[in-house]
Symmetry: C2
């Protein structure tokens, strides 16, 4: 399996997990399709009026910082601004799982990249839901807590 | 250009028009990708917290009814229900343009299909926006009215 196939497999995996947890989910088309004119996130998820745009990344060594193309993040943030939603970088870490970092306020290295110093320090999926969904959803949290 | 390429071209065209009008837009992946486990709309658009899922269709003869697979519509409605949004069938009619039909309340033919008797009777894009967006957006309507 090459790098691109691996990326697609991870995107699908996250999309499926979000769907199973009750989100409406759509994966964007492969990078490049129409991407010149307008930015398209890797995944868009929505639930009860809450919209989230994700850029999906993976790291092999969670102790090393992750650098993300600044223009990609700018596109993601513009998408979320239009939608009236939020933007997150979803980082897949082997042996750890998914960690989510708010795309807003990432560290600017000054060289065309933004930096996530500690990919593993991001929110877990269940914590992301806690952050995004209204308090009426908090009950779910306690019921599903042991599962993620 | 074959039928599939034409479909993709029309989807892109609508996605671009929505983007130009201020919507955040994402085109779903080609039919079939992950579609077995979970439904993915052809296009998802969002603006200021309003979410719309589109199934894109085209007709060559606008005087003939359009039949849509019932399971497709059920999937689209389920997607919109989860998202807390709305679902529309976007119909491309040559010489007329786009017309939008609420996926809710389509006529059931009883044979696994839902029917749009008069594709050309749907909402224009600007009328769709009028229906979906809060009244604070109505000003846009008057400014852009002549353009569509």
């Amino acid at each position: 399996m090459n790098v691109k196939e691996k990326g697609v497999r991870h995107e699908r995996e996250l999309a499926e997990e979000l769907w199973e947890r009750g989100w409406a989910v759509v994966r964007g088309p492969a990078s490049g399709s129409g991407a010149r004119k307008r930015f398209q996130p890797d995944i868009v998820a929505a639930r009860d009026g809450v919209i989230v745009a994700f850029e999906v990344k993976r790291v092999s060594d969670p102790s090393k910082p992750l650098y993300i193309n600044k223009r990609q993040v700018t596109g993601l943030l513009e998408w979320a601004r239009r939608a009236g939603g939020r933007a997150f970088i979803a980082v897949r870490i082997p042996g750890v799982g998914w960690r989510f970092h708010d795309a807003e306020g990432l560290e600017d290295t000054g060289g065309g990249s933004l930096k996530i110093s500690k990919p593993s320090s991001g929110l877990k999926l269940i914590e992301l839901e806690e952050t995004l969904l209204p308090s009426s959803r908090k009950l779910d949290y306690y019921f599903t807590r042991g599962q993620t």
